[in-house]
Symmetry: C2
Subunit: 313 residues, 2 copies
């Protein structure tokens, strides 16, 4: 397998990206070839400096970088020699099997949606986030912002994709899928939630346990929480803010440490035919290492073909 | 002024309700007449037991109680001699100036919407919640569940009602109003948020500061946060759950103590012509005292007529 990584993406690139590569190669027992995309000279110097073994590495030169605040569509069109554009080109043409970047999030989303095909039958790809549970376990919530307005059929597919993801990647057997709602009983909620409930209830590909409420999000009530991307995004960012609060307030508590989302690496775009992982701008080496490991696992477990199978009616 | 209180409503009623009355009367320097609604004999015994001075108290007998899990509309119709039904009757007929209950929430909402007129011009009444900010201040978020689906014009009115409320009740001058959204720039968001932004921007009755994101909810970015009741309800319940987590994890931290929503008393229904305050089922004496104080302030500040003035175009 060949994993593409944008070395130039992220606030602390390229140093932290290369350090992440180094950590992955020193810890990883499985074999993976890495394709590092970015300024060739800088990359080669850093590989030497951090004494990274280069037998499983290819460097692909990119002399442009898409900045964090550029307009995604415009930048992808005008900067065809940027590390993100080249990364997607390599993935789309089959030269790599996954692509990772902590660069411009919008460009990564646009690239994923328009360079890489959606899995057959997928109405809309989605992005998810892990949620640290109070009891030490980890759940998944989706969508967290790619789809601010959703249709019931889309939420029903998110449930399947989330379910396959937590089984294969988080190793949770027969994951409990819940609909995020304002009350527990069937019939509660806004128009979207009311219309989604019966679809989830009838969906044979998931283990639907009903509605859960805001108070259940951080408890171990469900493994997969389904909602539209507006509410999901607000919840994710609120949860992320708890880490900053815990730091400023000197809580020093193991549970609140888990809201440091750098621990989890990046967010995979689910529903596209190949693994695309979007990192947080503030990613350090550990996050990059975790993202490479995630891409590795997604390829190894053949996540996309398993999703495709489960999405068939 | 005459404040009506359902003595039978809440998990710890009637003892905690009467204790709340006692605390209010002993701490309160302003004059208010209280109308206590419920089982007359029980109330009189408890008033004696807790040595509550009865010169400013009227007891109105109600021989029925609406239970926490009864269907609201059915219960209000069939239990006309319940403390909630009588409470709304007294308020609607002008015998009291406010009504408070920690009983069946649904019955309180149905009663507020159907027994008490909406303020002229109000499209939909709303319920709000205070939000404890990390820096010690307190903000307001609305809607938190009465309106799971909203129109932009309704959110625009919530902004005005929330703004008047925090000015008059929380004492915040020129409150900053923000729209909860998935990004900071105008144009971001779901269809509702996109359509609401220009209305808030053009609204001369509020000080609109733009969009805020989930990460800003617990920070002191805005005094009034406007959203539809689905997202608002999920956020409120998630925030409430932080108190339980902080207790179970022995955090013993002053900030997380503030997520004990009992500190704040109850939730007023905004947009109806008279003060109606809904208490949490688990309310203890302190919450009841705080709800009576809130009703007192809402009457004293003539909150409803100030809202009416600001809602005029």
């Amino acid at each position: 397998m060949n994993i593409g990584l944008d070395i130039m993406g992220g606030d602390y690139a390229p140093i932290e990206t290369v350090k992440g590569v180094s950590q992955f190669l020193s810890e990883q027992t499985h074999s993976a070839h890495l394709t590092l995309i970015g300024d060739e000279q800088q990359i080669k110097e850093l590989l030497q400096q951090y004494e990274v073994p280069i037998n499983n590495i290819t460097v692909v030169h990119a002399d442009q970088v898409i900045d964090m605040h550029e307009s995604p569509t415009k930048a992808l069109k005008e900067k065809q020699r940027s590390s993100i554009s080249i990364g997607f080109h390599l993935l789309a043409s089959g030269k790599t099997d996954a692509f990772i970047s902590a660069g411009n999030t919008g460009a990564m989303l646009v690239g994923a949606l328009f360079s890489i095909k959606a899995i057959e039958g997928v109405l809309r790809p989605t992005i998810s986030s892990v949620i640290p549970k109070e009891n030490g376990k980890t759940g998944l919530i989706l969508d967290v912002g790619l789809n601010a307005d959703c249709k019931p059929e889309q939420l029903n597919q998110f449930a399947v994709m989330g379910s396959v993801y937590v089984q294969q990647i988080l190793g949770i057997e027969n994951p409990r899928v819940a609909l995020l709602n304002v009350g527990e009983e069937e019939g509660k909620g806004n128009i979207l939630a009311q219309a989604t409930y019966p679809l989830l209830k009838d969906n044979k590909h998931i283990h639907f346990i009903g509605n859960i409420e805001g108070r259940d999000v951080l408890l171990d009530r469900a493994d997969v929480i389904v909602c539209e991307g507006f509410t999901g995004n607000v919840i994710l960012k609120l949860a992320e803010s708890l880490y900053g609060i815990s730091e400023r307030q000197n809580l020093e508590h193991a549970y609140f440490e888990r809201f440091n989302f750098e621990n989890y690496g990046g967010t995979p775009v689910l529903g596209v035919a190949k693994p695309v992982i979007i990192g947080h701008g503030i990613s350090h080496a550990k996050a990059f290492k975790n993202m490479i490991m995630l891409a590795h696992k997604m390829i190894e477990k053949e996540l996309m073909s398993k999703m495709k199978m489960e999405l068939e009616p």
